[in-house]
């Protein structure tokens, strides 16, 4: 053996010899003698830097990587989309860095995992309150997969292989839905909304009625930002068509907006990153998935669910429930293949929500509404052509710019001059967002940056 590896306690001659002795072999490679010779590796793998690196050397490697990243302040990022700049409270970091939960497994042994289980139960409860539904599971991978799974749930319940989505839905979400629809061969139909107001039109209502899909997905607020007055009406018409209403809501809007459960949504979905998780390039996500209390919906719910119960001494306790829906019991008849979920991210969202409280989440919602209004004005002032301009927007705004220059070059110039990311370039068009992290000065700076860049 060469140098011992710092993470392997037994990586020393003495321990290896003792173990070999106990198991009755001389050469450790005998453990692998049942692997055909023709496929045993004859050389060491070329990974990492070849030589094992020390902690210090690894940190140095990361210095290089981090050097290769631009230093953007959160409040100078206006790029819109499913993941957006939101403030992560230090308490969130402090709690989710604790090894007792960071390095825990799924709580299959409830007696030793009560704290983790209670946190997940509180997450489920907090989301149930926020969305005003009865049940929210412990979390899906992200908003996109949660929407896809919600749709498949509706397809199973209704036994109809058709789901309708608004054209305003993030393209990432449609993409993932299409992938999940390949297996059961479900078709995805888009419906439009009014170009000017963003509202439902009689045409799209009658389309829902004639298509009679398993479910209609309603984005509230729209992924492109519009807050539709007609939302309750679309839900009603969906029910009238015999379809399930799946309402996608950004949870950070629900401190201000009437929750989808109030409008009788059957299934609610959301992306929890907005509750205050770092963006990490889209690497820290949380799919929120909830249902109203209905037997068929419960039976078909994917993912983990924690429930309250009592222990032998009659003390309150928590454990995973209704596991017979899940893959490890039901195998090919399971409601989903999901195994490892996103527990830690659910907990991060819960802690963040606990810090905000009902006052905080309302204030943030209001701040986002106000900032979005400022953003709309700033974009118009800079000459952007806003999509569905007469709608009240929340967080995201889609637009185009009548500039000779290409939008990527424009963006790069602004980044270079101001360390500010003005928008993202998306299939829906350009998209900017305003959140609680932006100040009015930041939005004015965005306006100036756009004006400057577009005029030369």
């Amino acid at each position: 053996m060469e140098g011992r590896h710092p993470w392997i306690a037994n990586d020393n001659e003495k321990n290896i010899a003792e173990i070999l002795n106990a198991i009755g072999i001389k050469d450790p490679l005998e453990l692998f003698s049942d692997i055909p010779k023709s496929i045993t590796l004859k050389k060491k793998l070329a990974v990492g830097r070849g030589r094992p690196l020390s902690s210090f050397e690894i940190e140095k490697e990361f210095d290089g990587i981090i050097n290769d990243l631009k230093d953007f302040e959160l409040n100078k990022i206006f790029a819109g989309g499913p993941i957006a700049p939101h403030y992560t409270h230090p308490v969130v970091d402090a709690i989710i860095s604790r090894g007792e939960i960071l390095t825990a497994y799924t709580p299959y042994q409830p007696e030793i995992s009560q704290g983790l289980l209670q946190m997940l139960y509180e997450y489920q409860s907090a989301m149930a309150i926020l969305y005003d539904v009865d049940i929210v599971n412990a979390g899906m991978y992200d908003g996109a997969t949660a929407l896809a799974e919600a749709s498949l749930m509706a397809v199973r319940v209704k036994k109809i292989k058709k789901v309708m989505v608004p054209s305003t839905l993030f393209h990432e979400y449609k993409d993932v839905m299409k992938t999940y629809f390949m297996g059961p061969e479900v078709s995805l139909i888009e419906y439009e909304t009014d170009n000017d107001t963003g509202e439902a039109t009689p045409e799209n209502i009658s389309l829902i009625k004639s298509e009679r899909p398993a479910a209609v997905i309603i984005d509230y607020p729209a992924n492109t930002g519009e807050v539709r007055r007609t939302t309750p009406e679309i839900i009603q018409e969906t029910h009238a068509a015999g379809s399930l209403a799946i309402v996608f809501s950004d949870p950070i809007a629900l401190g201000v907006l009437t929750p989808p459960g109030k409008f009788e949504a059957d299934i609610v979905v959301g992306e929890g990153q907005s509750l205050g998780l770092p963006m990490y390039g889209g690497g820290m996500t949380l799919g929120i998935l909830g249902i109203r209390n209905e037997r068929e919906l419960i039976r078909n719910l994917p993912g983990r669910l924690i429930g309250e119960t009592v222990d032998v001494d009659g003390r309150r306790g928590y454990m995973m429930i209704l596991q017979s829906r899940e893959q490890h019991i039901r195998r090919e008849k399971a409601t989903s293949n999901i195994t490892t979920g996103v527990s830690l991210n659910s907990i991060a969202a819960l802690v963040s929500l606990a810090i905000k409280g009902s006052n905080g989440i309302r204030k943030e919602g209001i701040a986002i509404f106000e900032n979005t209004k400022r953003l709309m004005k700033a974009l118009s002032n800079a000459g952007a052509l806003i999509q569905r301009p007469r709608a009240v927007h929340f967080k995201n705004i889609s637009f185009s710019i009548p500039s000779a220059e290409n939008s990527m070059t424009l963006l790069e110039n602004i980044v270079k001059d101001r360390k500010l990311v003005p928008y993202s370039i998306r299939e829906e068009g350009l998209m900017s967002c305003a959140t609680e992290v932006h100040k009015s000065e930041d939005i004015s700076e965005l306006e100036n940056a756009l004006k400057e860049a577009m005029n030369g």
Partner: protein, 496 residues
């Protein structure tokens, strides 16, 4: 070891009322339609220290690898390096907006992803990797759909059968079903290999593929893997590798050389990303030859020293709304830098550890090692306590609770399904000999106690944050309570 877990009588967050539970009456923004304005949100308004205390207490009633061993078989609970946690505190990494990955503005991340892809290709023997899948099961679904698209493209849409061994993890058949396949089950032979006769009996023109993990969930290497691969390929089927068990052979043998066409990896198992109490996970899905064209998501490419994203030519699409779990990738990157060419030590020590443990269990009454008893295990081993159960009424579950009582997290129990009263141990490379010895002597003690006073065992655990829980009450429709809100207001009567 004496052990006592914290037992805070910690209220639910919603039960706090420190006098600050009042709702401010913040006026809603004027242009939002009145009918869409929410009246109130029933969440508590706690002070920051109250929040910190609440959650810190709850973490004290939780248990992770930083506290002690978690030898859950199939889950590969190994040390999660702190360097990665430190790196992930960098605001430059935290503030990367996903859109920036599509531009040249987050070059460092693309370089990390590119190098990780290259290393995973080397480790698996595949031609390309996508880092998009957010967990192992998502990698499986990707693979299953790649197989589907591949056959469809060749005009062989009739291939609707996926062969899955009875020892497979539940997510394998579940993913196959989500991909629209019929699951054909094959059995395990007494050496603990998948029954090759069984495979040959069911493989045919309708075979889309075979999903296999190797070493399998018994911890045994599929000795006749080359023959299996041949028989599936002969009929035009695709071989899928469930990489959850790669830890047992990493650096020693590669799925690509065994004949596998698609591989998923669990970065949160083999590659040291933390499990987070049930996620987030991080996956990767890799493929060989023609199948690489079907990979999901984006692949990072390096051209003239620059990194760009590309979509595989015939990609099945996206399996997540973003490019994957970046923190998980950072852990994997740290892990591979740390081991480098010594990566094989991971397989070596995880195999040494489980075989050491099994050697210590020899001769314990009522405990057996079903399937290929005489064979060495790779990363994990599954014992059966069926005989003990028959003799004393003490089950695998009871033994698990005895271990908890000692502050030793229980192994996986009742999986794989082919072993009755199964206890599946996996110590990984990072557990020291002492820990393994503690487990062995705890099992010995528990078995003695089972013969002497089985009732005592049924009363455990007592030193954990709670005693045994009432599963019937938790699950019964009349008493079930999945949220504080459940059943509070009149449940909506409308049926679906």
């Amino acid at each position: 070891m004496t052990f006592r877990q914290a037992r805070w009588e910690e209220k639910l967050l919603f039960e706090y009322d420190a006098g600050n539970n009042k709702q401010d009456d913040e006026p809603a923004p004027p242009d939002v339609p009145r009918e869409l304005i929410r009246e109130r949100v029933s969440l508590p308004n706690l002070s920051e220290p109250e929040v910190v205390r609440h959650f810190t207490r709850l973490t004290q009633m939780s248990y992770g690898i930083d506290l002690g061993p978690v030898p859950l078989g199939s889950c590969t609970m190994k040390y999660n390096p702190k360097i990665a946690a430190k790196v992930l505190q960098s605001n430059k990494i935290r503030n990367v907006h996903p859109f920036l990955l599509k531009t040249g503005l987050a070059r460092g991340i693309l370089r990390l992803m590119f190098e990780l892809q290259e290393w995973l290709k080397e480790i698996t023997g595949m031609d390309a990797c996508s880092l998009q899948p957010p967990a192992g099961a998502s990698g499986e679904l990707s693979g299953v759909l790649m197989i589907k698209a591949f056959h469809n493209e060749r005009g062989e849409k009739w291939r609707d059968e996926m062969i899955v061994p009875d020892s497979a993890h539940g997510s394998n058949p579940a993913s196959s079903a989500m991909g629209g396949f019929k699951v054909i089950r094959v059995q395990t032979d007494e050496r603990g290999n998948v029954d090759i006769g069984g495979i040959k009996a069911v493989v045919g023109n309708r075979t889309a593929g075979l999903m296999l993990t190797n070493p399998n969930t018994l911890g045994l290497f599929e000795e006749r893997i080359l023959e299996i691969a041949k028989s599936i390929h002969e009929f035009g089927g695709v071989l899928y590798y469930d990489g959850a068990n790669l830890n047992g052979i990493i650096g020693i043998a590669r799925p690509g050389d065994m004949g596998f066409d698609i591989v998923h990896l669990n970065l949160h198992k083999t590659f040291s990303a933390p499990h987070g109490g049930g996620g987030p996970g991080a996956g990767a899905v890799c493929a060989k030859g023609e199948l690489a064209k079907y990979l999901p998501g984006y692949i990072v490419e390096k051209k003239n020293g620059d990194y760009t994203l590309s979509r595989p030519e015939k990609s099945i699409g996206h399996v997540m709304g973003t490019m994957g779990n970046l923190p998980g990738m950072v852990y994997a990157y740290v892990f591979l830098l740390s081991y480098g060419e010594d990566l094989w030590k991971v397989a070596l020590h995880s195999s040494l550890n489980i075989n050491y443990f099994l050697s210590l269990l020899k001769g314990i009454n009522g405990v057996s090692l079903p399937f290929g008893e005489y064979r060495f295990r790779k990363h994990e081993g599954v014992i059966s306590v069926k005989k003990l159960t028959e003799e004393t009424g003490v089950t695998a579950d009871d033994l698990a609770k005895f271990l908890l009582e000692r502050g030793l997290h229980a192994p996986t129990i009742y999986f794989p399904l082919i072993v009755e009263e199964a206890m599946m141990f996996e110590f990984t490379e990072t557990e020291p000999m002492e820990v393994i010895e503690e487990y062995a002597s705890a099992i010995k003690e528990a078995v003695e106690l089972a013969h002497r006073d089985p009732k005592k065992l049924k009363e455990l655990p007592k030193s954990t944050a709670s005693g045994r829980l009432d599963a019937v009450r938790a699950n019964h429709p009349q008493t079930m309570r999945p949220s504080v809100k459940f059943g509070v207001k009149d449940a909506n009567e409308r049926k679906v």
